[in-house]
């Protein structure tokens, strides 16, 4: 029997209620009502945010990024993970705490 080693469990992200955003002419403007900071997302970052908020799955996002940036899927996935990490660090997304 093979043993599957997963160093980390799956993570669920959510968008906290104090995060609101609007489409602007040349960016997506995301505001954090708690920290009172505004973030201007442009270019690919804005596209990923848009796809994310439209409810596309992880796998679909990777396909979109790979297609739009002409990247192999492995790099597209790494890019997506980095982006999510960045948004988590800036408070735009939060991780759901996993128990047990």
């Amino acid at each position: 029997m093979k043993t599957m080693i997963t160093p980390n469990p799956p993570q669920t992200y959510f968008c906290p209620p104090h995060i609101r955003w609007a489409y602007d002419a040349a960016c997506i403007l995301v505001v954090n009502e708690q920290t009172r900071q505004a973030h201007m997302l442009v270019a690919e970052e804005a596209a990923i945010w848009d796809w994310l908020m439209l409810g596309y799955s992880y796998a679909q996002l990777i396909q979109f990024i790979a297609a739009s940036s002409d990247l192999p899927t492995v790099q597209a996935e790494n890019h997506l993970r980095q982006q999510l990490q960045t948004w988590q660090e800036s408070g735009l997304l939060q991780k759901v705490a996993h128990h047990g």
Binding site: T12, F14, A22, D24, A26, L29, V31, Q37
Partner: protein, 348 residues
């Protein structure tokens, strides 16, 4: 400047009413009118804020059963009085106002307030005009623009006939942030701008000045239209600041359209302190504006005469922002990843 709500009751039904959310919050839960004791505290607040004018709002302030007493209290303490009314004022409060000197009392009459939920009918118009004739130079006519077609000509005639204050206060109907009132969509602003520029010239010929309330934006006027307005002496400005509407339950609200979202407790603070708190609360939204182009607009960033554009009404701007109850599962990375996507699902 701060507005004191003294009545949560109004007997009209204007389709654009931006106080509807404020009034509905208090139905059945609070006293509909301010008490004398609370009003005295509000006057204390104005004094410690070095504000010399009492601005009475509602609902309809003249429906307060002790309206005359409130006005007298304010006058005894040396305040001038400004009343925001729908104009269908009953005899007793009207007598109270007409006994005051025009130097001490101004009454801003909303000329398109109505019971019908549409436009004022003939009876309402006649009653309002009778009230305005009695108010004379105490009356300042106001008009809320909530549709791209409107007619201000009758106001010019009335100003002459009733010897009113020679100005018209113009408001753009703005949306309640979480509400459903009728308001002017920003796409309709340029059409309104064209009409106002033409009308300003007509008004100036009659010696009447146009005054702009909050929410106007620079780009609703062409350069030529703006020049026309300035030539006509109009008070053109791009305002959106915390007005400070003080509610019956002692909240300082940025303005009625933002009831429940941008407010703070009055407590023992003064108006500048409260205003600063509300500015801090809303600062994060100020980068944006009512249009998608606002955040990159030179009128907003650098300012153009007669002052930098604020990007329009904050409630209108904040309505552009949305929140998404997103939950997104990120699979565990496989060993040695870089990654192979676990499963590529079907694309919608």
């Amino acid at each position: 400047m701060a507005n004191l709500a003294i009545s949560n009751v109004c007997n009209l039904n204007c389709p654009y009413c931006f106080a509807a959310a404020y009034m509905s919050q208090t139905i059945g839960t609070a006293r509909p009118f301010i008490t004398i004791e609370a009003f005295t505290q509000r006057l204390d607040f104005l004094e410690r804020s070095h504000i010399s004018q009492v601005r009475l709002i509602g609902g309809e302030p003249t429906l307060h059963p002790q309206f005359t007493t409130l006005v007298q209290l304010a006058r005894q303490r040396g305040f001038t009085v400004l009343v925001f009314t729908h104009g269908l004022v009953r005899a007793r409060p009207l007598t109270c106002l007409t006994t005051l000197s025009p130097d001490d009392c101004m009454v801003l009459v909303n000329m398109n307030a109505t019971r019908s939920g549409s436009v004022p009918d003939a009876a309402e118009t006649a009653q309002r005009e009778a009230v305005i004739r009695q108010l004379g130079s105490r009356a300042l006519l106001g008009f809320n623009i909530y549709r791209p077609q409107f007619n201000l000509e009758p106001l010019l005639a009335l100003i002459q006939k009733a010897n009113c204050h020679p100005a018209i206060r113009l408001g753009l109907a703005q949306p309640i942030l979480d509400g459903a009132n009728v308001y002017l969509h920003p796409k309709q602003y340029p059409a309104v701008g064209r009409q106002l520029a033409q009308f300003a010239r007509r008004a100036a010929a009659d010696g009447v000045r146009l005054e702009f309330d909050c929410g106007f934006v620079r780009c609703m006027f062409s350069d030529e239209e703006l020049a026309l307005l300035q030539e006509a002496g109009a008070d053109v400005a791009w305002r959106c600041n915390p007005i400070l509407d003080i509610s019956l339950d002692e909240r300082a609200i940025h303005c009625f359209p933002l009831t429940g979202r941008v407010e703070t407790a009055v407590a023992a603070q003064d108006a500048p302190t409260l205003r600063q708190q509300l500015i801090v609360q809303t600062q994060v939204y100020r980068r944006a504006g009512i249009y998608r182009e606002c955040s990159f607009c030179p009128h907003k960033r650098q300012g153009t005469p007669p002052g930098a554009c604020t990007g329009g009404c904050l409630a209108q701007t904040m309505r552009r922002f949305r929140h998404q109850n997103l939950r997104f599962v990120l699979p565990a990375p496989t060993v040695g990843q870089g990654c192979q996507p676990a499963l590529l699902g079907e694309i919608r």
